[in-house]
């Protein structure tokens, strides 16, 4: 079990590094799909079958198709031109800040004393248990989500109109 986890984690990290350091956005997008699949595999190991399926359908399917569609629409053929200042102070500062933030988060997490969790519950994370909770305790957030999606649709339509006033 841990061997599978380490394999998937290595795949996720390597593809993540490749997403960040590709010159062409199309290649980044394709590596991001690999990253999403690896993370979905880890969700399966963590008993989140429904979320793993949703991850592949929504992230690797819908969102990445949207990305690829826009990349093709903008017709970005040539790779990114090299900058005049490849190692500017901003970039170095951004890199250091990210690494420092990661260390802070890791340190904070390592200080937490976690009680050992309860014993395994059969059927945790399957569609039935998620649906039961979604339509009882989380009904209001679920409905608010639909409003959020409506706003996103209206926003996308307005932004892609021919003339922006």
């Amino acid at each position: 079990m841990e061997l599978i986890f380490f394999g998937l984690a290595a795949l996720a990290l390597i593809s993540g590094v490749l997403v960040v350091f590709q010159t062409h956005p199309l290649r980044s997008a394709l590596w991001l799909i690999v990253n999403f699949f690896a993370v979905a595999g880890i969700y399966l190991l963590l008993h989140a079958e429904f979320i793993a399926a949703i991850q592949i359908i929504v992230y690797a399917g819908a969102i990445m198709v949207l990305f690829l569609f826009v990349i093709m629409l903008l017709n970005l053929r040539e790779p990114e031109a090299p900058t005049k200042t490849p190692y500017s102070a901003q970039k170095v500062a951004g890199f250091m800040a990210s690494v420092a933030a990661a260390f802070f988060i890791a340190y904070g997490l390592s200080r937490v004393q976690l009680a050992p969790g309860p014993a395994a519950v059969p059927g945790l994370g399957n569609t039935e248990s998620i649906a039961k909770l979604l339509f009882t305790d989380y009904l209001l957030p679920f409905e608010v989500t639909s409003v959020l999606l409506l706003v996103a649709i209206v926003g996308a339509v307005v932004l892609s109109k021919k003339k922006l006033q």
Binding site: M1, E2, A9, L13, G16, V17, V19, V20, Q22, P25, S28, A29, L32, V39, I42, Y43, L45, L46, H47, A48, F50, I51, I54, V58, Y59, I63, L66, F67, I71, L73, L74, E80, T83, K91, G94, F95, A97, S98, V99, A101, A102, I105, A106, L109, S110, G117, P118, A120, L124, G125, I130, L133, L134, Y138, P141, L148, L149, A156, L159, S160
Partner: protein, 101 residues
């Protein structure tokens, strides 16, 4: 049949930092958006790990909502990218300095 919680959290932190690096150092706005997706995904991984540790489905509910927000964000964000490209013919953030003082 259990993956230790610290391993998953470590992977989550690493992916989050990787996404943050991408957001801060890349110039291409499309790659910045993709790295943002990766950061959201890392947070989802932490939620799932804790949901598995405490045997509660509530963490997976939050992943569901984060996913919805991510989808809405990408739809609006990419519409903005296309609108900016139509106006300025660029996808590089250092060319978009009209608000810079």
């Amino acid at each position: 049949m259990v993956v230790p919680l610290p391993y998953v959290l470590g992977l989550s932190v690493a992916l989050f930092a990787l996404g943050a690096i991408g957001v801060l150092i890349r110039r291409n706005i499309l790659i910045i958006l993709m790295c943002l997706e990766m950061m959201l995904n890392a947070v989802n991984l932490a939620f799932i790990a804790f949901a598995d540790h405490f045997k509660a489905v509530d963490g997976q509910m939050f992943v569901f909502f984060v996913l919805t927000v991510a989808a809405a964000e990408v739809a609006v964000g990419l519409a903005l990218v296309v609108a900016i490209f139509r106006q300025r013919a660029t996808v590089y953030v250092d060319d978009l300095n009209i608000l810079k003082w």
